[in-house]
């Protein structure tokens, strides 16, 4: 396309003429490497304090939280779902069967072949909720990160259903945002979603209210 090609070269030319001479790539890289980064890049809290901070932040956002033992995953999930009155759930196709309590209906989603069903957004919306794991979590900000990795599924899965039950393993919880990026960096091309509490808005008189378009209800089980 002619005009788009000339737009590209014109914009780049205009930038170049404003900036002056262009540096070699390795000099730019060296300059980048020398940028100041004196902010906190590693946590200092003990594991116990870190977990407590994480849970406190989530509660402040209005999420339900519970610490559970690794041998009790299935029972705890069952208890949580029953308490929320959920029966029909959608799960990432690769969620371990050992997590799934009986007497609930789980529909696998994503993946290829017979493992998955292909639900549209409307069908997802019709589910009682979704159950997933995560990639990493940040204590300081009460954030959980999904990266379409194991036990997480594609993005629509954790978006359309109104309830999200998320399992976070204690060793997935880091203290600071930079530590979470150290974990995410090697898979940075995967779709990445940070979520911090249930969906919310403060657009009306700056009152934070829960629940607009994303899941309105969030429970987090921290597995130790």
């Amino acid at each position: 396309m002619d005009s788009s090609f000339s737009a590209r070269s014109e914009v780049l030319r205009s930038i170049r003429s404003a900036l002056g001479q262009r540096m070699e790539a390795d000099r730019i890289a060296a300059q980048y490497g020398a940028l100041p980064r004196d902010y906190k890049r590693a946590g200092t809290l003990s594991q116990e304090d870190r977990l407590q901070l994480f849970l406190r932040r989530l509660e402040e956002y209005g999420a339900g939280v519970k610490r559970i033992a690794s041998h009790g995953i299935r029972e705890e999930i069952g208890g949580q779902l029953a308490a929320r009155g959920c029966r029909r759930l959608v799960i990432p196709y690769d969620l371990p069967a050992a997590w799934l309590p009986l007497s609930f209906e789980f529909t696998p989603y994503g993946g290829e072949g017979k493992l998955s069903s292909s639900l549209g957004a409307t069908e997802l919306d019709g589910m009682d909720g979704v159950l997933t794991g995560c990639t990493v979590a940040v204590a300081e900000t009460g954030s959980i990160v999904l990266q379409s990795g194991p036990h997480q599924g594609p993005r629509a899965l954790t978006l359309a259903p109104d309830y999200h039950l998320c399992l976070v393993f204690a060793d997935q919880v880091v203290e600071t945002v930079p530590e979470s990026f150290a974990v995410l960096d090697s898979t940075s091309c995967l779709p990445t979603t940070f979520f911090s509490g249930p969906s919310a808005t403060a657009d009306i008189e700056m009152t934070r209210i829960k629940g607009v378009h994303g899941p309105r209800f969030l429970d987090v089980l921290v597995v130790e």
Partner: protein
């Protein structure tokens, strides 16, 4: 040539528009309430980070570095995005951006699209352009929906409807969504928006967004939001089009570790906003099948050439400077008559118009420095304001009208007075006598006659004191000690100091 749409709404000057708004006490109290709440939250969550200043330093350095090598990083971004299945388009100006987006939408034969809040699309007037071509853009951010249904304009770029209170929002929703029974609690209003939009999220096939950051190293795009409307738009439709200013690029993915700390804390006073999404191109079975990025110049590139005002483009649009600004507090955003309000708007808007529009905006500031103090990327807004004022004056001095203008003549006269001790003291003595007829009952001067009336139009003056500093100094200095208090040196220093605030 004037672009088809302009981020500067009208030719009205700031003082004219501000005067009107100052009379709207409802808007003023809504703005005051909202900015006070955000600012208090912002202060609390930035104050709790021991490394806040180091984060600001890093943020400034990364943004300045990205701008210094903008062509390099944009090309890198383009490669990464294309490799991942995205398509990159370039737009020289607003008209071209509108045309590209319209063309992409038309290719899919739809007449409705979803929109995520984007100031860049306000800047180019995208919605109007689509509307004129028979395409309805549905704003999905709660505040933008309020603005769109209320046929209003945004007044703040993080909380665009902060000038509306709940009663006003209820009225708009009752009327436009046909919900006569709707309650007034924010919860009721949010759930009305949820049901109004939900069907659209599931039905519409094309979405248009902006972006907070572009990542050069892998071609990723990052959007920071609260409600989940962003996630809906960039996950469910088949086609996603992101319109992004060329300045938004960051070198590496890990640079987000700085901005995802500073942006939410500065913008809404939260440790983290509810949702951040980062994605690269398209991915089979996850999200849109077609992804386009439209890179918009629209007179950003010439700003790079000016070493002093280049920092304007470091902005990450957190709006902390609006919330901190005493002028914005009083007037709200509409007085700036521009998509970009507040202190950053005062420096960005005129530059985006090659200093041909918005020329009163660099004067819409008391230069108190509050904006600089809160800015997470350390843009020295007062410095840029003064620099732009200087440019405006220089340009005006090039024209005959400017040379004969009141400001120029006044400044020339002042320069002449301040340059000589005897002329200054003569003028002071004259002033002390003549001013008596203008001093009102409160001991202030409200109106001076032409040509000085321009000065008293926007401020009351204190009269000259009965005794000037120089008169007082001359009386108290013992003879033989003139050298310490050399009145000529004192006079010149006072002259320079006095003209600083111009």
């Amino acid at each position: 040539m004037k672009p088809a749409a302009s981020s500067h709404w009208s030719g009205r000057d700031f003082p004219v528009a501000a005067r009107e708004l100052l009379e709207d006490s409802q808007i003023r109290s809504n703005v005051r309430h909202a900015t006070n709440v955000i600012q208090a939250k912002r202060d609390a969550v930035t104050g709790e980070l021991a490394d806040w200043q180091q984060l600001r330093d890093a943020g400034e350095a990364i943004r300045a570095h990205s701008l210094a090598h903008l062509d390099f990083y944009l090309e890198q971004f383009e490669q990464g995005c294309t490799r991942a299945g995205g398509q990159v388009h370039w737009a020289r100006d607003a008209a071209e951006a509108n045309q590209i987006v319209l063309g992409l939408i038309q290719r899919h034969g739809v007449s409705e699209v979803l929109k995520i809040k984007t100031m860049t699309s306000e800047e180019v007037g995208l919605n109007q352009h689509l509307e004129a071509n028979g395409i309805r853009a549905h704003e999905t951010d709660l505040a933008e929906l309020i603005i769109q249904l209320g046929k209003d304009k945004p007044s703040h770029f993080v909380v665009p409807a902060l000038h509306k209170n709940r009663m006003q929002v209820r009225e708009i929703f009752q009327r436009e969504m046909h919900l006569p029974e709707l309650g007034e609690r924010p919860e009721d209003l949010a759930s009305a928006a949820r049901s109004y939009l939900r069907e659209k999220f599931f039905r519409l096939k094309v979405a248009v967004s902006g972006a907070n950051f572009l990542i050069a190293e892998n071609g990723a795009v990052c959007i920071v939001e609260s409600e989940g409307n962003g996630r809906m738009c960039l996950t469910l439709p088949d086609v996603l089009i992101s319109l992004v200013g060329i300045e938004k690029v960051l070198p590496r993915f890990r640079d987000l570790e700085v901005f995802l700390q500073t942006l939410p804390r500065s913008a809404t006073g939260e440790r983290m906003n509810p949702y951040n999404s980062i994605w690269t191109g398209v991915r089979e079975g996850d999200g849109p099948k077609e992804f386009h990025v439209v890179l918009l110049d629209n007179r950003r590139s010439p700003i790079l050439a000016d070493a002093e005002s280049r920092q304007t483009l470091q902005c990450i649009r957190c709006a902390a400077c609006l919330n901190a600004c005493p002028v914005y507090h009083q007037t709200g955003g509409h007085a700036y008559e521009s998509v970009y309000a507040g202190p950053i708007g005062a420096i960005l808007t005129p530059q985006l118009h090659s200093m041909e529009e918005g020329r009163s905006l660099p004067y819409a500031s008391s230069l108190c420095g509050a904006c600089y103090e809160v800015c997470p990327v350390k843009i020295n807004i007062p410095e840029v304001l003064i620099h732009l004022r200087g440019k405006i004056v220089e340009e005006e001095q090039k024209t005959l009208a400017g040379q004969l203008g009141m400001w120029n003549l006044g400044m020339a006269a002042a320069a002449m007075l301040f340059a000589s001790a005897s002329r200054l003291s003569l003028a002071q003595r004259l002033g002390q006598i003549v001013q008596k007829i203008f001093v009102n009952r409160d001991g202030m001067i409200e109106h001076l006659p032409f040509p000085l009336s321009g000065w008293t139009q926007t401020r009351d003056l204190k009269p000259l004191p009965k005794q000037s500093f120089r008169q007082w100094w001359a009386e108290r200095t013992p003879p033989g000690e003139e050298s310490i208090g050399d009145p000529d040196r004192a006079g010149q220093a006072a002259g320079r100091g006095g003209s600083d605030g111009q």
